[in-house]
Subunit: 239 residues, 2 copies
DNA sequence: CGCCCTTTTGAAGAAAATCAAGGGCAGTGG
DNA sequence: CCACTGCCCTTGATTTTCTTCAAAAGGGCG
C-alpha cells in the first residue's frame, strides 16, 4: 500500500524547494481516489471541470482527434503529473485525456489548490513550472517531428527519463505501456513506419524494446543519435 | 502615438473580466520600451531573465535550432503577447525568441507582475489563460502537422484571427510578415513545398496571399478545408 | 542598372503512407 | 489440451508526399 500523497510531494519537490509547511500542506491535501480502466476516458474536451487531477498510478495520454478521425497523442502523463491545471483559471479543456493503463487518479478541489498556490509562493511556482515543463515537451515534440527516426528515439529517451524520475525503473529497465500504434500516434507517423524505426533503433544497438520493456544499453549513444538533452525536463536543476 | 499600456489592457481584457482596479494597475504598470530590429534576437535560450516582456508593436517568433542547424518556429507572437512568463517561476527559457519585423517591446519587472498576480485573482487567471492559449496553439500545431496543405491553411487561419483580434486588419485584409521560408519553418516543411501548398490554396480560391497581404475570400470554406475552429484562441468566450 | 532576397518552377530522389497479408502471443472456451 | 479469437507486431509491394538540388523569374532598393 503506497502513501499516495507522497506522489504529489515528490513531484512538487522535483520542481521547487518546498518548505516544511508546504510539504505538510501537500501531504494533507484532501483528494478522492478514482480508478480508471485501461483505454477509458479520464477527461473529455470541453468539460469545464473545477477539479484538478493527479495521476497516482498508471500512465495516461492527452490526445486530439482530427477531422478524418485519426488520433494524435499530444502528451504522455505519468504518476505525479497533473491534469486540469486549466481548472485554476476556469478554462475548459481543449483535448481529451485517456488512460493508457489502469490508473488511479486523485481528484482535488481546484479552489483548494488555488488557495494553496495563493498562500505559498513555492507551490505557485511549482504549478507554473509543471506547466512550463509540459510546454517544453510540446515544443520538443514539434522540433523533432521532422525526422521519424529521431522522433521515436527522442520519445523513448523522454519517457525513460520521466519513468526513472518517478521510480518506475528496475535494473535499468522500465516498462513503457505504449503499443507501437500509440507511439505512432504520439510521433505523428503510421504504425508501420514506427515499427520500422524501432527496428532501425534496435538494429543499431541503441535500444532493446520488447513487449513494452525498454532498455537502453548506451544512453549517451541514443541521446546523441536523437539529439536528446534532458535539461528541459528538470527546471530545478537547470536553474 | 499609441498609448502602449492599452495593448496590455486589451490583451488581459480578452482573457478575463477585469475590474476597474485591475485595469488601473495594468495601465500604470511601469515598463521600459525597447526597439528591436527585424530578425534580431529578443531572448535567447538559457537566459534566466527576471524580466517579463510584452510585444507592443510588431511580430516575433519563438524558435528552436535542431542538431543539423535547421530552425523550427514553435510560436508566433503578436502585439499584446507575453514572453517571459517563465520568469514568474524563476525558470530559464528553453528556446529563442526573435523579431520577425521591427518590434517595440515592453520590459516589465517580473516581481511586479508576480505581486500584481498575487493581489488580483483576475490578473493571475489572465496569466494562466494566456499560457493555456499558447499551449493550445502548440497542441493544434502538433495535431495538424501531418498534412502540409492543412497545416499551412490552418496557420494562416490562426494568424488571421489573432491579427484581427489585435486590430491589425484593414478591409478584411491583414499583413502577415512571414516569408514562405518562415511559414515553412513554422509548419515543419521545406520552403519549396510551402510554396506549392500556398499555390494550391490559391488555386482552390481559399486565400489571396501576396507579399504578405492575406485575404480570405470565404472564411468558412478555408476553415472547413483546414479543420480550423477558433474557439481555442478565445478562452473567455468559450467559457 | 545591378544586387539581394524571395518566390516560382522543374526534375530526381528519399521518406513516409497505404494496402495487404502473415505471424506471435495471450486469453477464452470447448 | 487444443482450437479459436483478438490484438499487436512484422513484412513486402506500391503509391503518395515531401525533400533535395538546381535554376530561373520577380520585386525592392541602392
Amino acid at each position: 500500500m503506497r502513501a499516495y500523497p507522497a506522489t504529489l510531494v515528490r513531484r512538487f519537490s522535483s520542481l521547487v524547494d518546498l518548505s516544511f509547511d508546504d510539504e505538510a500542506s501537500l501531504a494533507t491535501l484532501p483528494f478522492d481516489i478514482t480508478s480508471i480502466l485501461q483505454r477509458q476516458a479520464i477527461l473529455r474536451a470541453g468539460e469545464p471541470s473545477p477539479t484538478m487531477y493527479v495521476i497516482l498510478e498508471g500512465w495516461a495520454a492527452r490526445y486530439g482527434i482530427r477531422a478524418n478521425g485519426s488520433r494524435r497523442i499530444t502528451g504522455i502523463m505519468l504518476p505525479g503529473d497533473f491534469c486540469g491545471i486549466h481548472a485554476l483559471s476556469g478554462a475548459s479543456l481543449d483535448h481529451n485525456i485517456a488512460a493508457l493503463t489502469n490508473c488511479k487518479i486523485g481528484k482535488i478541489d481546484g479552489t483548494i489548490v488555488a488557495d494553496l498556490a495563493h498562500a505559498s509562493p513555492a507551490i505557485n511556482r511549482a504549478l507554473w513550472r509543471a506547466k512550463l515543463v509540459e510546454e517544453s515537451i510540446l515544443r520538443t515534440w514539434l522540433l523533432n517531428s521532422d525526422d521519424a527516426f529521431q522522433a521515436v528515439g527522442h520519445l523513448l529517451c523522454e519517457l525513460h527519463v520521466r519513468a526513472c524520475d518517478v521510480g518506475l525503473m528496475q535494473n535499468g529497465r522500465c516498462y513503457i505501456p505504449l503499443t507501437q500504434q500509440d507511439i505512432a500516434n504520439a510521433v505523428g507517423i503510421t504504425n508501420v513506419h514506427t515499427n520500422r524505426m524501432l527496428q532501425k533503433l534496435r538494429g543499431e544497438g541503441l535500444i532493446e524494446f520488447q513487449r513494452g520493456a525498454l532498455f537502453i544499453p548506451d544512453q549517451d549513444a541514443l541521446r546523441k543519435a536523437c539529439d536528446f538533452t534532458p535539461a528541459y525536463l528538470h527546471p530545478l536543476e537547470a536553474a
